[in-house]
């Protein structure tokens, strides 16, 4: 399908704007950690829908299996036991791509069309354009993209862009037994989150809150947390994530400036040659040899 048929807000390594005239609703996934029972139905459903099979690893003394996001596991339940808030708590967080409004991966990617941000907010990897350089891994503030050993392409949660494109909800959200995962327009999700936060505050979680970090322009995957003031409790969910300044510098103004500088250096040489002219050694210099 050509570009027009899909509403793309941003395309990696493309300095000209993509077709984005239409205003479509922005979708969002809400992960309500307070309702999550860590059952990994989302991990199963994600692997099954996307035809992925993870390697059977070993148990390192944790419920988090596999141990980390991989090219085969695009979402992962991270378990953390803490007694910081008085009683024992088992904080379980569904890790995966946050689909940022200002995606670090897309900013870092050098290959045109490898990373696409649709108007509905989904940030999707198009592996056929991915060259496997891994810049996006450096660009992402949440350490999500994973390089596959088999084909050196980078993979991450696509928020089931194929299902959402035909109007279905993502596979993990449909599977979630306790409605810890909810899908809909971003406004609805924020509204739903506020209701949940009100209920949580009644149950004694004063710091319950919504995790929608402004540092990356807000995300299309948001959390409702018991302790929104200490997100690092949840297996170090970044407190206020931003695209790292190093990457900002590297991919920011330095790029066009350096390109121009190189071009002008070459041009300066040519202009110098044309004006000052070459530096020759005349014949008589030959003769004057003693």
């Amino acid at each position: 399908m050509a570009l027009q048929s899909l509403d793309i807000v941003r395309r990696s390594a493309t300095t000209t704007p993509s077709p984005q005239q239409r205003q479509t609703t922005e979708v969002a996934k809400l992960i309500d950690v307070t309702k999550c029972i860590g059952c990994k139905a989302c991990q199963s459903a994600c692997m099954e829908w996307n035809d992925l099979r993870e390697e059977v690893g070993i148990n390192e003394g944790s419920y988090t299996n596999p141990h980390d996001l991989t090219a085969n596991s695009w979402t992962l339940m991270r378990f953390a036991e803490t007694e910081e808030n008085g009683t024992l708590e088992w904080l379980i967080r569904k890790d995966g791509c946050m689909h940022c409004a200002d995606p670090g991966c897309l900013k870092a990617c050098p290959s045109p069309g490898a990373i696409i941000q649709y108007a509905n907010g989904i940030v999707d990897f198009h592996e056929e354009n991915c060259i496997g350089c891994g810049y996006c891994i450096a660009g992402c503030p949440f350490d999500i993209p994973r390089l596959s050993e088999k084909d050196s392409k980078v993979y991450k949660c696509t928020l089931c862009s194929d299902r959402v494109a035909v109007g279905l909800e993502p596979a993990c959200i449909k599977a979630c037994p306790t409605q810890a995962l909810v899908f809909g327009s971003k406004e609805d999700m924020i509204e739903h989150a506020n209701e949940r936060i009100a209920d949580l505050k009644e149950r004694g979680f004063e710091n319950a809150g919504l995790y929608d970090p402004p540092g990356v322009g807000g995300t299309h995957v948001m959390y409702v947390l018991h302790h929104a003031d200490k997100p690092e409790l949840y297996n170090d969910l970044p407190k206020d994530p931003v695209i790292s300044p190093t990457v900002g510098l590297w991919k920011g103004i330095f790029k066009p400036l350096a390109t121009a500088a190189i071009f002008f250096t070459a041009l300066a040489g040519f202009f110098h040659y044309v004006t000052v002219g070459p530096n020759e050694t005349e014949e008589e210099d030959e003769e004057k040899k003693p």
Partner: protein
């Protein structure tokens, strides 16, 4: 360097040095183009030269290692001729005249003038840094051994050093075209005596020292 000098020309570079130089040059050019392709989208089309974007990303680091090896041979051969002397400082201060082809009254230049020496040391600095940062960001082999902040820093440094060295080499190439006869030195290995006397009097004296007749 006991070389045979014909009446009109002097040997400046031996065939092995020239070969070494041109390997470094060619690999550098490939690196520059493939690197720039990944540097800015406007130049992404360079990747077609290397057989597609993925091959560009695959080849770049390997060529980088080859260039580093050949450059280090080169550097090992010439580092003795590149110590900055007082004359070089004076030469630099009068860079305005140099650029306007007014060479009278310039201090005596040895085998390499101050510009070339400066370029030499910047190349040593940047290329070794390029190798180091290059390994840190080399996927899929080494990058995952390094924490993500190091990788980010390496990416930035790699880009900055590349920018510096590319500008340097553009000046280097232009200088060869600008000063007629220089290219011959690296292509055929010989320069005219007049060229040597005009551009590198110090070096000329040393080389022709043995020929008293």
């Amino acid at each position: 360097m006991t070389t045979r000098h014909s009446p009109r020309s002097i040997d400046r570079y031996s065939p092995s040095e020239r070969l070494n130089h041109w390997i470094t040059a060619i690999t550098f050019l490939m690196l520059a183009f493939s690197g720039l392709a990944l540097f800015h989208p406007s130049m992404f089309w360079f990747t077609q030269v290397f057989g597609g974007p993925t091959w560009t990303r695959i080849l770049h680091p390997y060529i980088g290692v080859v260039m580093f090896v050949s450059f280090s041979l080169l550097a090992f051969k010439f580092w003795r001729h590149n110590f900055l002397t007082r004359n070089d400082i004076v030469w630099l201060r009068r860079i305005g005249d140099v650029v306007r082809n007014r060479e009278e009254g310039l201090p005596e230049v040895d085998r390499y003038n101050a510009g070339q020496k400066l370029l030499f040391w910047t190349m040593i600095g940047t290329i070794s840094l390029l190798l180091l940062t290059g390994i840190v960001i080399w996927r899929p082999w080494f990058a995952h051994y390094f924490p993500i902040d190091i990788v980010r820093l390496a990416l930035l440094l790699h880009a900055v050093c590349a920018f510096v060295i590319i500008c340097g080499i553009i000046v280097h190439i232009y200088a060869a075209i600008w000063i007629k006869g220089t290219l011959g030195a690296m292509v055929r290995g010989t320069v005219t005596r007049a060229w040597a006397r005009k551009h590198h009097p110090g070096w000329y004296k040393q080389v022709t020292e043995g020929e008293k007749h």
